[in-house]
Amino acid sequence: MAKNVTANSEDYLRMYRQMVRIRTFEDNANQLYLTAKMPGLTHMYSGQEAVAVGICEALEKTDHITSTHRGHGHCVAKGAEFKEMFCELLGKAEGYCRGKGGSMHIADQANGNLGANAIVGGSAGIATGAALTAKRLGNGAVTVCFFGDGALGQGLLYEVMNMAALWKLPVIYACENNLYGEYTHVSEMAAGKLGGRAEAFGIEAFEVDGQDVLAVNQLTQELVARARKGEGPFFMALNTYRYHGHHVGDINRTYYRSKEEEADWKDNRDPITNFGAWLVKENIANAEDLDAIQAEIKAAATNAVTYALDAPYPPADEVDSHVFAA
């Protein structure tokens, strides 16, 4: 793990906190599901924290992101609060989307999160369009489009990468390669080289260890700076891993990946453990500091969950509001 050129202790600790916040959020969401308190399905981001945090810490609030079905991590990393997030996951009126979106559509436009998307690859156009607005307004904003390796199957991505390249749009395509789309390995879904798919359009492509928050952050900082100067678009492949099944509760599918593989990633490549160790080694924090951070975040999450469980559902008459904007 290499020190960032531009980051200081405070930045490091914030990255650590944000990764822990994501992990803690997901642990609670998982628990809510397993105890049948959460309706529907949700997809856990645990294991991929360094991607969302490394990237979003390189962005301003006024920069945009688009997210995926596995979107809690992006949402937290871009600045969202636990309370409104849990309310949304439980379909409550105080949720970010008044309970209408749920896990798969959580959005937080105040922090520049244009929303999760339940159509794999579905937000590639949205991200590119946000970058077009930024370019036209000349406001310097950059958009990051998060998507999984599975989304490489969607033709839309190639259409918009082509236009982004032709028009030099300030957008970064961030492909989180966690090796699987549902129960299928990336090698069965994607021929050729991942980065080659962007290079085909003349887009510079990068590959980075998605478990190393500093590496992710460093690269993103560089690309964001270049994108702001009009040198975009860019493509990043981030190698990472999801700890849970494809969705919560989906744990009994052993045929598509081995227990050994899972253990290896969790034991040896955990982004939080490794970054924590680095912080201690570099004397930026000691073990007690990290424990305290963890405890504080755990308590905050518990509070938010309790709050959300008690919070009211939207009133029935909201069912047909927000179909059309005034």
């Binding site: 309706p39 529907g40 979106g101 159509i119 299928t184 069965e188 994607a190 069912v319 179909v323």
Partner: protein
């Protein structure tokens, strides 16, 4: 008779047909080892191999298009589209290509393919995983559209769809996959275009589609307690539509309520209502009624979602008012 689930019925239909005809293959996302997220296709890859049960990348337009081309050249592909909401992604291949090829070629090219997908809300799956989009394809000439209402129909219609020489879209209600029904062990087919009078009655006709047949049955039970006799017609396929069976029922009962889980406006219920209003007009004692899903994207919150789709209570209430002349 033995009872099996709708999911098993689908699995059996595919297995039987694949045994019968080597040109059939199936493709879609996570259909092989995973047997789909709903585990509907479990076991098929073990019997037929990855050559005939083909896992695709997440490329709905692409593999739908591949199916069209395969069908034009002697294969009989079955496309597994994981959620009905993804129909929007394959519309060009389905509606501009598959639906029109036979006609545009003056009858020389055929596209014998089946696209299996699902529909239905109240699974807390939110706006992009809860839609019932059968109207969209029903509107496009050249596509047949099947709407099984139980395991029995699911099997019989799917087998007919696979044997049909045209593109057939079949919508399974995802809430019904575990519902059981009596399904004969012996081979049987249900012809496309033949409605089924699910229950006979004399005061009002329910034309009910897919899982709405169950809703209609509950409503009919409630009406029976009031001394009102409802007839239930299940069209089973909306293209071709067995207009005759529907009209005969309405002519007998003189009242009709069409129940469908697609959005009400510009939906399938409108077509059936319009046909009745045109062709059984002089037999009607009360306005042509219909009930579809509300014209809103399906909300995630359980508190809201349940309000959006037809329920037995609301069907009962509307029917009762109609029969009592209150409408």
């Amino acid at each position: 008779m033995r009872e099996i689930t709708l999911s098993q019925a689908v699995n059996e239909a595919i297995a039987e047909e694949m045994r019968r005809d080597e040109t059939i293959f199936l493709l879609g996302e996570d259909v092989a080892e995973a047997g789909t997220p709903f585990k509907i296709l479990s076991g098929l890859v073990e019997e037929f191999g990855t050559d005939r049960i083909i896992d695709t990348p997440i490329s709905e337009p692409g593999f739908a298009g591949i199916a069209v081309g395969a069908a034009m050249t002697g294969s009989r592909p079955i496309v597994d589209l994981m959620f009905g909401d993804f129909l929007f992604l394959v519309m060009d291949q389905l509606c501009n290509q598959a639906a029109k090829t036979h006609y545009m070629s003056g009858g020389k090219l055929n596209v014998p393919m089946v696209l299996r997908t699902n529909m239905g809300a109240t699974r807390r799956s939110a706006a992009q995983h809860s839609q019932s989009l059968h109207t969209l394809v029903a509107h496009i000439p050249g596509l047949k559209v099947a709407m099984p209402s139980s395991a029995y129909e699911a099997k019989g219609l799917l087998k007919s769809a696979i044997r049909d020489n045209n593109p057939v879209v079949i919508f399974e209600d995802k809430l019904m996959y575990q519902d059981k029904a009596e399904v004969p062990e012996e081979e049987f087919l249900i012809p496309l275009g033949q409605a089924h009078v699910k229950r006979e009655g004399s005061d009002i006709t329910f034309v009910a589609i897919s899982s709405m047949v169950q809703i209609a049955e509950s409503a009919a039970d409630m009406l029976a307690a009031d001394g009102i006799s409802a007839e239930i017609v299940d069209p089973r396929t909306i293209v071709p539509l067995d207009e005759e069976t529907i009209l005969n029922s309405v002519k007998k009962t003189s009242r009709v309520l069409v129940v469908d889980e697609g959005h009400q406006s510009f939906g399938v219920s409108a077509e059936i209502a319009a046909r009745v209003a045109e062709k059984a007009f002089y037999y009607l004692d009360s306005p042509v009624m219909r009930m579809g899903a509300m014209d809103v994207p399906i909300p995630f919150s359980p508190a809201l979602e349940d309000l959006t789709v037809p329920t037995a209570e609301r069907v009962y209430e509307l029917a009762r008012q109609a029969v009592r002349g209150e409408i």
